[in-house]
């Protein structure tokens, strides 16, 4: 049944945004066939970056066309340096850096969408820039 739903991604005329199962070990050829970009979200600490690195390797093996990294919950310039240095060293395409943002937790606690809770939050601003870059890169 899921094969049908994955096919939707390929066939819809709309932009498709797929929130995958947590943990990239679930990544399947089915998903890989139908997406043009995989965004791997990682946090600025070593274990998370290592996991992201492994996801890039797996994505390559599955034949995903393009994999890009998004660093999330970045608190300090040192965090950002850590991420950039790691990405450079392993040749991971770092698309965006999204800052740690209390608006995300607030929205969660209130059970509302971040986009509605605080449309001008720093994290939302970063995701707008991320969207700009994806649109620029779109075929």
């Amino acid at each position: 049944m899921r094969g049908v739903l994955h096919g939707l991604v390929a066939e819809t005329s709309r932009i498709a945004i797929v929130d995958l199962e947590a943990g990239l070990e679930h990544l399947s050829r089915g998903t890989a066939r139908h997406v043009d970009t995989l965004l791997v979200v990682g946090e600025p600490y070593f274990k998370s970056l290592e996991t992201a690195h492994r996801s890039f390797t797996l994505a390559r093996e599955l034949g995903i066309k393009q994999t890009r990294m998004v660093a999330n919950k970045v608190r300090t310039s040192r965090d950002e340096e850590t991420v950039r240095e790691f990405a450079n060293r392993h040749a991971l395409d770092l698309l965006s850096v999204v800052p740690y943002d209390t608006a995300v937790t607030e929205a969660d606690e209130r059970g509302t969408a971040l986009f509605e809770h605080q449309p001008d939050a720093p994290s939302v601003a970063a995701i707008r820039r991320l969207a700009d870059r994806l649109v620029e890169a779109a075929p």
């Binding site: 899921r2 991604v9 990544l27 995989l38 919950k73 969660d108 994290s123 969207a131």
Partner: protein
């Protein structure tokens, strides 16, 4: 543009996926957000209240047909156009944005 977003649990992947979908839809681009997580919570971040996101209704069999490819592999395909299916079975989340929840535990072969 077909984007998949992955990461460890707690990495914030769902917040990024849902907010990205809202940002693109707010620009007037038609977007479908698909929740492929077996613990689905994309609904909240795209703006669908919890009660309305109980999940995708079971697909009626008469919308599906079995097809065979050149290698003899059979697959189920939709009999109605994909975008009609999304309109019919998706949950409206915002202007230009429809949510489809596909993360119910799958039975048998998946992918």
């Amino acid at each position: 543009m077909k984007i998949a977003i992955g990461g460890k649990g707690g990495s914030g992947k769902t917040t990024i996926a849902g907010t990205l979908a809202r940002v693109l839809a707010a620009r007037g681009l038609p977007v479908v957000a698909l929740d492929d997580d077996s613990n689905p919570n994309l609904a909240l971040t795209v703006g669908v209240p919890a009660g309305r996101a109980a999940g995708l209704p079971a697909l009626p069999r008469d919308l599906l047909e079995e097809r065979q490819d050149a290698q003899g592999q059979t697959s189920l395909e939709l009999k109605i156009p994909t975008d009609d299916f999304i309109d019919r079975y998706g949950v409206p989340a915002a202007d230009n944005l429809t949510l489809l929840v596909m993360g119910q535990p799958s039975h048998g072969g998946s992918g």
